[in-house]
Amino acid sequence: PAKRSEAPKRRGKVPDLPVFERRNWLIHMHYVRKEFDKCKVLIKEQLFETQYMCEYALYAQALILRQEGKIQESLDLFQQTVKINPFNADNLKQVARSLFLLARHKAALEVYNEAAKLSSKDWEIYHNQGVCYLYLKDFEKAKDCLKHAIQYHRHDASFLQLGKIYLMEGDIESAIDTYKKAIEFSPENPDLMTTLGLLYLQIGMTQRAFEYLGNAMTYDPSHVKAILGAGSMIQTHGDFDVALTKYRIAASKIPESPHMWNNIGMCFFGKKKYVAAISCLKRAAYMAPFEWIIIYNLGLIHLTMQQYASAFHFLSAAITLKPKHGQLFQLLAIALTHLDDHDNAKQAYEQAIMLDIDDPAISLNYAIFLYNMEDRKQASRHFAAYEKKMEVFRKTKGGDIEREILETGNRLGPALQVGEKLVWDAEAKTTRIP
C-alpha cells in the first residue's frame, strides 16, 4: 500500500516524509530479500515509534508471520491494518486470504465481496472467490469466478483450479481444454505438462500423452510424476528395461512410493523375473495396504507362479477393497478352479460376467472352465458370447487384441466339438498411473 514512498524524487531539497511511513522502503527492501530477522527488528522499532499506527509495518509483519505458518496471528495484524485504512482493497484481500488459509471459507468470501466493492476487475479477488467456492463444493459459482479471473488476467493458478473443478465433476474433455490453454500461456511449466499428459493417458490418446510427458521431462529431468507416467506408458509397450532406467531416477527421490514400487514390480513381471517382481510388489503392499491395484497385481503374479492359495488370498483381499471389478472375479475364479472349489468358481465367473460385460476373456475362460467340467451345452453358450464380444472388441479397439487369447479361442472352437487339451491364460495387466 505504501510502497509509493520508496523512490524519493531528486528535485530540489529532500522531500519531507511523513513520520509514519518514513522507513517503509527499508522494510520492504529487507522483506523482498527474505531477510526476515532484520525486517522484524526494523518493524518493531517502527511500530514502537508510531504506537502501532504504521500501516505498512503491520502489513509486512503479518506477511512474515504468514510465511512462518502463524496464520492466526497474521490475521489479527491484517485486521489492524484494515482498521487503520479501511478503504484499501489490499488490506481486505489479505484478511480474506488469512481467513481462507484458516479454512473459514464463508467468512473469506464475505470479505472478498467487500474488497470487490473497493476495487473491481481484480483477478485475484475473482480467483480466490472461485477457490473458496470450490472448497464449499459450489462448482458452478466457482467456475464462473475463475473464468472471470482468467478474463481479467490470465494466470497459471486460475487455470489449475479450473481444471481441478472439471476433473472433480468428471469432465475430462473440458479439463484438457483448460490445461491446454494454460500451457499456451506458460509453456515451460512441467507440472502443467505432466497433468495434461496424464489426462491424455486417461482418455487413451497415448501419442499426445507421451509428447507432453516427454516435454515435461526435458524441462525437469527428475520430475517424479512425469517419470512415473512416462514409465508406465513405456511399460505398456513392453520396453521394460527403458522403464526401469526411468524408475531408477525416481527411486532416489521417492524411495518409499508404493506406486513406483508397483510399477517396478510389474516391469520385472514383464521380464519374467517373478521372484523379484513379488518382492517389489510386496514392498509396495507393505507401504500401502489399501491400494487394491497392488494386491491385484500380487494375485496375478501368484497365479502365474501357480501358487493358488496365495493368489486366492490376495485376490479376495483386492475384492473386499474394490468390490465392483469384473477382472478380479475372473482371476478369483481361476484361482478357485485350481483349488478344487468348483461351485464357488462358478459363482465367481457369474459375478465377473455380470460386472464386466465387454471383456471377451472372461467369457472364454468361463467356457473353458465349463468345458472342463463337462458341461458342453453351457460351454458352447459362453463360447458364443465370447465370439460376439470379440467382434465388438475388434471393431472398437482394432488390432489391440492379445494373441494368446485368440489362439486359445481358436483352439477351443473345434475342441467343443472334438475334445482337445487346454491351457488357461491370464492376460497381462497393465499398471496404473499415479
Binding site: G69, K93, L101
Partner: protein, 510 residues
C-alpha cells in the same frame, strides 16, 4: 547318649549346607547355616557360607545391569564432546548411515529409535531432552523398565533384601570393623559381595575394597575390578576406568573388558568401547559376549550392516544365542525378507523359548511370508500367553493381518481391542484415525490422530496424516504445523516434504 537320639544318622550339617549351596538350593543352605550359627556363633565357615548363599539369592550380573534414571540421563554430564561428529556418539547417532531401514519401514520406539529385536535392562532407546520431557513421556519409553529418578533397581534390591529377613538383617554393616575383615581375604571377598549385591551399600563396599586392595599390595586384580564397580555405581567413571585398566595389566579377563566397555559407553565414547572389545577379542578370540557388545554399540549407532555382521559371527560361535538370533530376525523382517526372519524365529522356538512375543513375531512373519496356515494359530498362542503388556501389541498386529486380507471391520475391532488393553497405544490410535478417514468421518479421524500425536511425539505417521487431513479440508495452518512435526520425526519423508513445499507456496502467494 542323649545327643545320639536327637540327631539320628544326621549328615554333617556343614557338608549338607555346602552340598545345598553347590546345587543352588540357597534357602535350604541358609536355614542349615542359621542353625549351625545358633549353636556356635563363632563358626566362620558357616558365617561365610550363609553370606554367600544370601548374596546368590539376589545376585544380578553387574555387566548387564545398566540402568539410567532420569537424573543420570539429564543432570550428569560425562560426555566430553558437546557436539560430536555424527557416528561417534550414542546421543546423536548418524542418520541411517549404515543402511538400516528407514522409519517408513521399521517402526520407531516412543523415543525415536528403530525398535530392537531384543530388549535388555540396559536398552536405552534414545534420551529425553529436558527434565520436563522426561517426566511427561511414558515411563517405559526410554528403558526396558519403568524409569525412576535415580537408578531404581538398586533401591528396590536393597529393600527386597530387608523383606527376606524377618528377624532383622544378617550382618549389621555399621558395626563391622572393616579393616579387620580386609586383612583376611577369604572372608573379605564374600563379605564384599554381600555388602555390594545384597545390601547395596556401595560406600561401605568401597571402603572394604580399598582396604583389602591395600592389604593385597595392589596386586589382586579382583579387588581392582570391584573397586571399579563401586566407582561406576557412584558415577565416578574416570576412576573406574583407571582401576579397570590397572586390573587388565595384572590379569586379562573377559569380565574386565566388558566393564571397561561399559564405562566407555557411559562416557559416550562408543568408538573407544568398540576398540576395547576388539582388544579383548584379540586375547579371547571367539568370545561371544565381547562380540555382542560390539554389535550392540553398532546397533545403537544405527549401523545395522555392521551390527548384523557381528551378530552373525556370534551365531557362528554360539548358535543358540537368543539376542543375536532375535536381532538378525528383526533386521531381516524389516528388509523385505520375512521368510528368512521366519526361519530365525522358528529356531528360537525349537530352542524352547515359549512366550507371547515370540509367537507374535512368528505370526507376523508367517503372514508376510505367506504361510497362511500357521498365521492365526501363532496369534492365538500369543494371545493365550500374553501378559497385560504384550496384549495390546498382539491385538494391534492381528489388526494388521486383518488389513492385509482387506477386512476393515475386523481391523477396526482389533485396533479397538488394542486400545482397550492399553489406552495409550499411539499406533493403534493412528490406524483407527486412518480407518475413520477412509470412511469419511473426518472429525473422528482428527480426534484419533490428535490423540496419537500427543501420545508419541516422535512418530511421524500421525502428524503426517493429520497434516494431510487438514490440508484436504483447507485448514492450512494446522496442516503446516503438523507437517513440520512429521519432518522432525522423519526428516527424509518425501511426502511430507512435498506437502510442506505446497504449503509454503500457498503462504507466500498473495
Amino acid at each position: 547318649m542323649a545327643a545320639a537320639v536327637q540327631l539320628p544318622m544326621q549328615m554333617d550339617p556343614l557338608f549338607l549346607s555346602l552340598s545345598f549351596f553347590r546345587r543352588r538350593k540357597h534357602e535350604e543352605c541358609v536355614d542349615v547355616c542359621t542353625k549351625m550359627l545358633q549353636k556356635n556363633p563363632y563358626d566362620q565357615s558357616a558365617w561365610c557360607l550363609k553370606t554367600r548363599a544370601l548374596t546368590e539369592q539376589v545376585y544380578v550380573d553387574e555387566v548387564d545391569v545398566d540402568e539410567e534414571g532420569i537424573a543420570e540421563m539429564l543432570m550428569d554430564d560425562n560426555a566430553v564432546a558437546q557436539l560430536p561428529r555424527p557416528g561417534t556418539s550414542l546421543k546423536k547417532p548418524g542418520t541411517g548411515a549404515g543402511g538400516g531401514p528407514t522409519p517408513g519401514v521399521r517402526p520407531m520406539s516412543q523415543a525415536g529409535r528403530p525398535v530392537s529385536g531384543f530388549v535388555r535392562p540396559g536398552t536405552q532407546s534414545g534420551r529425553p531432552g529436558t527434565m520436563e520431557q522426561a517426566i511427561r513421556t511414558p515411563r517405559t519409553a526410554q528403558t526396558a523398565r519403568p524409569v525412576t529418578s535415580a537408578s531404581g533397581r538398586y533401591v528396590r534390591l536393597g529393600t527386597a533384601s530387608m523383606l527376606a529377613q524377618p528377624d532383622g538383617p544378617f550382618i549389621n554393616i555399621s558395626k563391622l570393623n572393616l579393616s579387620k575383615y580386609a586383612q583376611r581375604p577369604n572372608l573379605a571377598k564374600p563379605l564384599f559381595e554381600y555388602i555390594f549385591h545384597h545390601e547395596n551399600d556401595v560406600r561401605n563396599a568401597l571402603e572394604l575394597a580399598s582396604r583389602a586392595t591395600e592389604e593385597a599390595q595392589f596386586k589382586d586384580w579382583w579387588w581392582k575390578v570391584q573397586l571399579a564397580k563401586c566407582y561406576y555405581r557412584l558415577g565416578m567413571y574416570r576412576d573406574s576406568e583407571k582401576q579397570l585398566k590397572s586390573a587388565l595389566r595384572d590379569t586379562e579377563t573377559v569380565d574386565t573388558y566388558l566393564y571397561l566397555g561399559k564405562v566407555y559407553r557411559r562416557l559416550d565414547q562408543p568408538l573407544t568401547a568398540i576398540e576395547t572389545y576388539k582388544k579383548g577379542l584379540e586375547k579371547f578370540s571367539g568370545e561371544t559376549t565381547l562380540m555382542t557388545g560390539i554389535a550392540r554399540i553398532h546397533e545403537e549407532l544405527y549401523d545395522m550392516n555392521n551390527a548384523v555382521k557381528l551378530y552373525k559371527e556370534v551365531l557362528h560361535y554360539d548358535n543358540t544365542h537368543v539376542e543375536a538370533i532375535a536381532c538378525i530376525a528383526t533386521n531381516h523382517f524389516y528388509t523385505d525378507q520375512p521368510e528368512i526372519a521366519l526361519r530365525f524365529y522358528r529356531r528360537l522356538l525349537q530352542m524352547g523359548v515359549y512366550n507371547s512375543e515370540l509367537f507374535n513375531n512368528l505370526g507376523l512373519c508367517c503372514f508376510y511370508a505367506q504361510q497362511y496356515d500357521m498365521t492365526l494359530n501363532c496369534f492365538e498362542r500369543a494371545l493365550a500367553l500374553a501378559s497385560d503388556e504384550t496384549m495390546p501389541d498382539v491385538w494391534y498386529n492381528i489388526g494388521h493381518v486383518a488389513l492385509g486380507i482387506g477386512d476393515m471391520a475386523l481391523a477396526y475391532q482389533c485396533f479397538r481391542l488394542a486400545l482397550a488393553s492399553q489406552n495409550d497405544h499411539a499406533e493403534a490410535y493412528n490406524n483407527l484415525g486412518v480407518l475413520e478417514m477412509r470412511k469419511g468421518h473426518n472429525d473422528q479421524a482428527r480426534a484419533f490422530l490428535q490423540a496419537a500425536a500427543s501420545l508419541s511425539s516422535v512418530m511421524y505417521e500421525p502428524h503426517y496424516n493429520h497434516a494431510l487431513l487438514s490440508f484436504k479440508i483447507g485448514d492450512l495452518q494446522s496442516s503446516y504445523s503438523s507437517a513440520n512435526k512429521a519432518m522432525e520425526g522423519y526428516p527424509d519423508h518425501s511426502d511430507s516434504q512435498q506437502l510442506l513445499k505446497q504449503l509454503k507456496e500457498d503462504f507466500s502467494a498473495l
